[in-house]
Structures are given as structure tokens and as C-alpha cells.
Amino acid sequence: MRAFTYERATSPVQAAAAAAANPDAKFIAGGTNLLDLMKLEIETPAHLIDVNGLGLDTIEATSEGGLRIGALVRNTDLAADERVRRDYGVLSRAILAGASGQLRNRATTAGNLLQRTRCPYFYDTAQPCNKRQPGSGCSAIGGFSRQLGIVGTSEACIATNPSDMAVAMRVLDATVETVKPDATTRRIPVAEFHRLPGDTPQIETVLERGEFITAVTLPAPVGGKHLYRKVRDRASYAFALVSVAAVIQQDGTGRIAVGGVAHKPWRVEAAESELPRGAKVAAERLLAGATPTHENAFKVPLVERTLGSVLDEARS
């Protein structure tokens, strides 16, 4: 791990200003992703801004009938919240399908959204990787790509976003609230929060330098059956090969987002209008233009079958 200096943030704006003042600074929340990457010297911040003392750890009702989730609410507490379990079950389910009890106890809402890819070459500092070292090339294209992306990929990067929580946030139309170093705030729909890799895969979100996440809000509940199905190499404690987050209404209409296939949670609203016609048609629409590698071509039928199974469960 490279040496760094450390400070405890005193307010969200102060944290944002401190981060903007030092290009090599990073916020640290749960630390479960950042410290992992720092040990491997994939992340090499020269300064850490510990945001754990800022509070931001409550879940409150909004005047629109939804919930405002503080950026530092731990994944365990978010998944266990009575209101989330009752009205946003897909979110509880997605969080509980990820990581381990120990990790979820520390992982935060903001940190989870910002966790970095699990592409094996991103983790191997001896290999070229455009995301880790812009311009060095992508080892995954033509390499070991079984876990990687099939849609929205680019010639520079085919990595996936590994977050389960983010897939549920996307299906729920969540909004990310931030504060900038100049104390202005903004609200970013989660749909626009994560970027596709394009030719700058190192830039993963639309956050600006120093911009600090204060909360994630959920709109008023939409009812329906909430399901999260995660397909992985073992039954627990593994990242998704493919996952489906779904909110399905009694009449068969609904919303779906897919994880494990793209650089961001993958949702195509046009595909949702096909849901009453079944998984095959909807999945075709969802994955239109997919460019899988020979190693991850299995994800195309896997998405369709996982979606089919989710729709069957919703009907039962």
C-alpha cells in the first residue's frame, strides 16, 4: 500500500472541498473496496478523507412518499429496514445477495454504488488494462472474459459493474443526491449516474472532482412483486454472472434491470413493454446489439432464462 495522509471530514461540503483541493485524495467510507484496491496498488490515493463521522446514516421518509437513504447507511441496515423490506423488496433482496454479512455491516450505500469492476485484468497490475492505466490496452478482449460484459461495451473495455444493489436502485428509479465543493447540490437519476466505457473506461460515473454523495432517494413505492434473481458460480458469496431485478405488476407489466452484463445496471425501458409477451421477446429487445465474446456468449441465453424464471415466479 502506498503511503497516504488522513483526515476526518467535518461536513459534506468540507469533505467535497478537501477532495477537490487535492487531486490525489479519495473519500473512504466502509473501505471494503477502496482498501482492497489500495493494497494491490490499483488505487493509490495520497490522501484519505474519512467520511464515517458525518452521520448521513438514517433512512427518512420524503415528502413525495419515498425514502431518502443517507450515503453512509450500511448495506445491512438498508436491507433490514422495515419500509424497504415491505415496499422495495427488490432492494433488500439485491443487497442480501451480495458480499458477506461482515462486508455488508461496513459497506455503505454510496460506496456500494461506486465499487469498481471485478475484471481479472483490472486486478492484475502486471497486465494492460485501459481502466486501470488508460491507453495501455484491454487484456480482456481476446483474453479471459467469461465474467465480463455483453452489451454497451466498447473496443477499449468490456468490464461490468459488479454491484447488486445498483441493479435494484436502477429498477426503482433511484436518484443520487450530491454536494459539490462550492456547496451547490444536484440530483442525478441513477440511470445517468454510471457511464458506459466508451474510450474513457477509467471514468465510471458522472461525478465531478470532489463531488460527494449525501444520499440516494427512492420515489414512492410502485407496488407489484419484487424479485431479484442472481446466477453465480456458487450459491453464496460470489459475484453475479447474470442477475435480474424485477418489479412485476399483476397484469404482467413491470420493470426489469439486469446486472453482470454491462458497465452499468442494464435497463431498456422499450424492452419492458414486451414483458407481457414473455421473456424471449423482452430479452431480445433488452440485449439488442449485444457483442458477447466467445467466452461469455452463454450470458445471452442465460439472461433470457433467468428472466423467464423470474416472470414465472412473479405469476405464481
Binding site: 495522509t5 488522513y6 473501505g31 471494503t32 482492497d36 442480501l96 454479512g101 461482515q102 461496513r106
Partner: protein, 211 residues
């Protein structure tokens, strides 16, 4: 046993002594340069409360809680399996919740109550979970065991507190104890010896006794 214990302590003190010396030579550089130049290791004072006892340490800021516990406080019960959050051998309780001590900095845990396996029970006064692990053969080599036991204690607390898991059938109903619940919740603790089924038995017995 006391003789062996002393010998071991001496050996560790020797190693730590060497480490301290190396660290000390770095002090002037840090003190001279304010703020410390990029790349220079920065030392800091931390105060940790471990097993009810407060400790003041001077450490490199990079020190993880696990390394502080093992290398500085000589609480070597918590183990380093992977150092990356993947195995659970380093599991400790912080303010009553289980955490991977390898993925948190010591300095991030000031003011919190840290409990390690050494604080759960002692050979003379075992924690019920330690007793049950012995009775049910919940280990072979024992390397993962301190983490398993800390995790196991916390898991029973989580079930009691009604925190759901991936296998909880209905999120709107109270959580009930089952083998499936224990297995899922313990999946963050890997056992290379495969003592899993005996660990489930040990935990089930303790849960039963707690009622």
C-alpha cells in the same frame, strides 16, 4: 504453559523491536516535512479499545485493524487468511457487529468497542460458542476458527434481531433459525478443512440454549 507463553512473547517482542527501530528511523523525515511529502510513510497516534482495554499506539497510518491487533497488541487469535475480505479469518466484533478487520484501518476504529476471540472467552472461562465448537468438532486445523466463532456469535445475534438474509423466505415475516439460514450467513467464513457441518451443529446448539 506459562513458560511457552513467555518464550513466544519474547520472540514477538524481538520482531516488533526490529520493526519499531525501522519505523523510528523514518520519524525525522515525517516530522521535518509538514505536510509529509508524497510517498513518505506517516505515523499517527491511535487509541483502540480492545476487549474492554484501552491501548494507545503509534502506528503507520496504513496499518489495518487486523495488523494492529496481531502485530502490535499481540492478539494473534484473529487470523490473516487472504487480507482482502474474502475468507473471514480476520472477523472481529466492532460495537457488536462482525467486520473483516483486514479491510478497515486501525485509525478508522477509534472510539469503538473491538472484541476479538481473546475477549469472547478464555481457556478457563469459555464462551458458549467456543465450548460448542469443541464439543461438535467445529474445526480441524483451527486456522479459520476464531473468525468462525466471532462470526457465529454475531450471526445468532443478527437472527435474533430479525435481520433478513438471502435465504429468508419472506421479507415481511420474522426471521427464524434454520440450517439454511446459518449456512448462508456463514458463507463469508471459509474453512479449508471443511468443518462446515459441525459448525452448523455447534451454532444450532448454542442458539437452542439461548432459546
Amino acid at each position: 504453559m506459562p513458560i511457552l507463553h513467555d518464550l513466544e512473547l519474547n520472540r514477538r517482542d524481538l520482531m516488533v523491536g526490529g520493526g519499531t527501530l525501522a519505523a523510528l528511523t523514518a520519524v525525522p523525515a515525517v516530522v521535518q516535512a509538514q505536510p509529509s511529502p508524497a510517498g513518505a510513510p506517516a505515523l499517527t497516534k491511535v487509541s483502540l479499545t480492545v476487549n474492554g482495554q484501552s491501548h494507545d499506539l503509534e502506528i503507520d497510518i496504513r496499518t489495518t485493524l487486523l495488523d494492529a491487533l496481531r502485530e502490535r497488541l499481540h492478539l494473534t487469535g484473529s487470523k490473516k487468511g487472504c487480507d482482502h475480505g474474502q475468507c473471514g479469518a480476520c472477523t472481529v466484533l466492532i460495537d457488536g457487529r462482525r467486520v473483516n478487520s483486514c479491510l478497515t484501518l486501525a485509525i478508522m476504529n477509534e472510539g469503538m468497542e473491538i472484541t476479538t476471540i481473546e475477549g469472547l472467552g478464555t481457556p478457563e472461562n469459555l464462551h458458549p460458542m467456543q465450548e460448542a465448537f469443541i464439543k461438535h468438532d467445529g474445526y480441524q486445523c483451527g486456522y479459520c476458527t476464531p473468525g468462525q466463532i466471532c462470526s457465529g456469535v454475531a450471526v445468532l445475534g443478527e437472527i435474533k434481531a430479525g435481520i433478513p438474509s438471502h435465504v429468508t423466505p419472506d421479507l415481511t415475516q420474522p426471521v427464524t433459525l434454520s440450517d439454511a439460514e446459518i449456512r448462508e450467513r456463514m458463507s463469508g467464513n471459509i474453512c479449508r478443512c471443511g468443518a462446515y457441518s459441525n459448525i452448523v451443529e455447534a451454532m444450532t446448539e448454542v442458539a437452542g440454549r439461548q432459546g
